[in-house]
């Protein structure tokens, strides 16, 4: 006998609406945790799986008929879909206290170790992906939700695309540079002009200092006038005060 098709639950999985910066990253995404969706269809032994498929492969996804046929994470590149996040149905019931989001792709260990358990490994490409919840019982799928809208993951660009150049030159630089350059030019011309005027003046004119208004402070010493000394004997000189050079040994003048 053909298996009965699973019941369609009126729930569309979606990315949580609250502001979470990491709800969609390059290899993971978050889903709002369904609450009270499976009540009434689930037994205590049932498990809820999350089916993840590429958006263009979701139409061709076939529900597995038993747990043994569940496509594992490793088959995603070939089968374009897999199922993960096997959880007891009781965890999604109305009364279960739980975090409000599920994170798809958060387990990096199972990707590396290649375990065959349902692996919530990181998604290898930006997608887009579509997901749906599937309630699996012992005899096969019992209920399923609608497929979600396509979820596109983030794509990172290389930092070499960043242009570090400033968008516009600040006005402060222009002000400082122009004013300082003009001040420097004025100073240089003034110094050269003053030097040139002095050099020209000393070459061409003889009268010095007629336009100088700054006198040096000359310190004057008071030199007392020399008094005439009395003539020493033995020194016959004329005029008085000057000694003449006599043939004999000259007497020192006083």
């Amino acid at each position: 006998p053909l298996p009965t098709p699973p019941a369609r639950l009126p729930y569309v999985p979606h990315v949580p609406p609250m502001a979470l910066l990491g709800k969609v990253t390059a290899t993971t995404f978050a889903l709002e945790r369904p609450r009270c969706v499976f009540d009434g269809h689930a037994d205590a032994s049932d498990a809820v799986w999350l089916a993840v498929a590429f958006a263009n492969a979701s139409a061709t996804f076939r529900n597995p008929l038993s747990r043994a046929e569940v496509p594992p994470y490793q088959q995603l590149p070939t089968a374009h879909s897999y199922m993960t996040l096997e959880t007891a149905a009781a965890a999604y019931s109305c009364s279960a206290p739980s975090p409000p989001v599920l994170r798809v792709g958060s387990d990096t260990a199972c990707r590396d170790q290649g375990r065959q358990d349902p692996c919530n490994g990181p998604l290898p490409s930006p997608g887009p992906y579509r997901v749906k919840f599937l309630l699996m019982g012992c005899s096969g799928p019992k209920a399923e939700t609608w497929w979600s809208e396509p979820i596109l993951l983030r794509r990172a660009v290389s930092p070499s695309t960043i242009d570090p150049a400033p968008t516009r030159r600040g006005s402060a630089v222009v002000v400082i540079a122009s004013i300082l350059a003009s001040l420097g030019a004025v100073l240089a011309t003034t110094v050269l002009g003053a030097l040139g005027a002095k050099v020209w003046g000393s070459l061409c004119r003889q009268d010095l200092g007629t336009d100088a208004f700054i006198r040096r402070s000359y310190r004057t010493h008071h030199i007392p006038p020399a008094l005439p000394q009395p003539l020493r004997p033995g020194c016959r000189c004329s005029p008085p005060g000057l000694c003449c050079s006599a043939p004999q040994a000259p007497a020192p003048c006083q």
């Binding site: 979470l20 990491g22 990253t25 990172a156 070499s160 400033p166 300082l180 100088a212 208004f213 040096r216």
Partner: protein
């Protein structure tokens, strides 16, 4: 004659006063530049890696210019009081050289401040932070500086944690996106340095990660540094210009 003597004395007094101000400003400039060069906020490795660290060169020039201004102001005071033509000519020429150096310092500080955009720091952070293949030592310095910056200022990235999501980086090569959407230092850490809620931090739940960028923490001290050097130097140069003009006029009026 008495009137021109009075004018001469007034000019002498003004020049001495001008030189005293230059001397004090020179000391202040030296002190300010020594403070900046001592790297009080620990941002020097980041600037050195961007190859736009010339605001430090401008500060170094400022130290020596400040000392030169102080010494020259003393020379100027002596030259003005003694009305010595040779001293004043030496003073004028050395002051012009100092003026040129300080002009270079101001323009360098102002120009390089403009080139320190957020994109510059973003590019450098993405390429060097946690670079596991350090060709040179500066990358590990950059990593240490960024870690310290993010821990002390409770910030993440340059513009925000989404920097790590929008761009690939050296960090991304060694840390998978699923485990480390952004570095652990972006998470709110407890006293032991461990994230308070690691899953909350990875998801970006408000309260468990630092959502603001570090650019404000970088640009504040850098702006103070650059504008302190540039505008204070500019003010000193304007004052020096006036004093030098007065000194040239005074020099040309001294008799032989």
């Amino acid at each position: 004659m008495a009137k021109s003597d009075d004018c001469a004395h007034i000019l002498q007094g003004l020049l001495v006063f001008g030189n005293v101000v230059i001397g004090m400003c020179g000391i202040a400039l030296t002190a300010e530049c020594i403070y900046f060069v001592s790297n009080p906020h620990g941002l020097y490795p980041l600037l050195k890696a961007t190859e736009h660290s010339d605001i430090y060169a401008a500060a170094w020039i400022g130290i020596f210019v400040g000392l030169a201004l102080f010494a020259l102001s003393i020379l100027g005071i002596i030259g003005v009081i003694r009305a010595s033509r040779t001293l004043l000519m030496v003073y004028i020429i050395l002051m012009l050289i100092t003026f040129a150096f300080e002009m270079a310092s101001c323009i360098t500080a102002a120009t390089h401040r403009d080139s320190l955009t957020p994109q510059l720091f973003l590019k450098e952070m993405l390429e060097r932070y946690q670079n596991s293949d350090p060709a040179n030592n500066s990358d590990s310095e950059v990593t240490k500086t960024w870690d310290k910056l993010m821990l002390q200022n409770h910030c993440c990235g340059v513009l925000g944690p989404s920097d790590w999501q929008e761009y690939t980086s050296a960090f991304r090569l060694t840390h998978s996106d699923a485990d480390y959407p952004w570095p652990r230092t972006c998470c709110v850490l407890d006293a032991q340095g461990l994230p308070v809620n690691l899953d909350g931090c990875k998801l970006g739940v408000p309260g468990y990660y630092n959502s603001n960028g570090c650019y404000d923490a970088i640009s504040g001290p850098v702006n103070t540094h650059a504008w302190g050097v540039a505008w204070f130097g500019f003010a000193i140069l304007c004052w020096t210009f006036c004093v030098l003009l007065g000194t040239i006029f005074y020099w040309s009026g001294i008799e032989y």
